[in-house]
Assembly symmetry: C3
């Protein structure tokens, strides 16, 4: 929580994939109040025939390293936070050698009551008793 | 955007998988105002022990080619559009040799502000400035 | 419907993975009115470098068997049902030999109109004609 799914092409070197994963988490920490240790990421590697991505839609130029980052996290982040998240993740990826256009990011949301981080305990019940996302630190 | 995840059994020939992916995108273009080039698909292949699918629930007859199509796209499509999408995708799959009952489709939604299609730019900010999904062409 | 995605480490024995999948479905049946045959699960196996999971956040102790269960199902379950689901799945996993802290569960929701279980038929149209999730048995 957040849970990030990072889909990369098989051609991408493992070291670069890891740097993308780092950029994703750094972005969440820097812009969305996610604690540093609150890191949950699943990385999937796709053969090119299994990753059908338009090279130019809508106004970008993707390469064979085009990757897709999906993040599921708590509802309540502002448009400004999401915009900053996109910029931060892309900047980190560019620093790691990616072309900025190769980083696609997609966000989905749920609520505290939708997470159990272990042992069957409800996150909403244990960490956000009212079940709302309106508490201070969102994760 | 949309982002489609297509999960198929290992037994399915690659050519048939591609035709299913084509049917999914054709359906989105035909029924949901998705631009032709707005294609983003991830295909995952599952061993049979990793794809646990009831053969008959609720009133269908699935075969060993049963596949699952998940589509994440912008909120705002009508029930009629979704119904037409289901029909269109299934019809395309049947034309490609699938049994209609083998095509399960699941939709999830988010908002323009939840997408960055490249370079850290927010789709909501650049393409739908008010952050709503009420613009003409949804993707 | 529900659709469960179960992500496990490559080190986990296949038999134990299956028991986790069973625990997930048993939990849905026991707590969320899901029919026994309404089972749709996708299991993905990750190399350790592709599954980046903090060992201790927020207050647990995960092992190398830490797994992530994502469930997409119909909106409308109560907090009490979700809490009971978490407890039931974790209890089943513990019975199968897991450490409770190794079971992370994440829920997402959609509506009856977002599902087609086969042949292009809309679930909302065929099984919940008003398109709402307020019918008796939710799946």
């Amino acid at each position: 929580m957040p849970l990030a799914r990072i889909s990369v092409p098989a051609a991408l070197p493992a070291g670069k994939t890891r740097k993308l994963a780092d950029a994703v988490h750094d972005g969440l920490v820097a812009t969305c109040n996610v604690p540093l240790k609150d890191r949950f990421q699943l990385i999937s590697v796709f053969e090119s025939r299994c990753m059908i991505i338009d090279r130019n839609f809508p106004d970008v130029n993707r390469t064979s390293e085009a990757s897709i980052v999906e993040i599921l996290f708590l509802e309540g982040r502002s448009v400004a936070q999401k915009t900053a998240l996109f910029q931060h993740v892309a900047a980190g990826a560019i620093e790691a050698g990616f072309v900025g256009d190769d980083i696609m990011i997609v966000l989905s949301e749920n609520a505290p009551r939708d997470w159990s981080l272990g042992c069957g305990r409800s996150y909403g019940r244990n960490h956000a008793p009212d079940g709302s996302a309106s508490t201070g630190s969102r994760q």
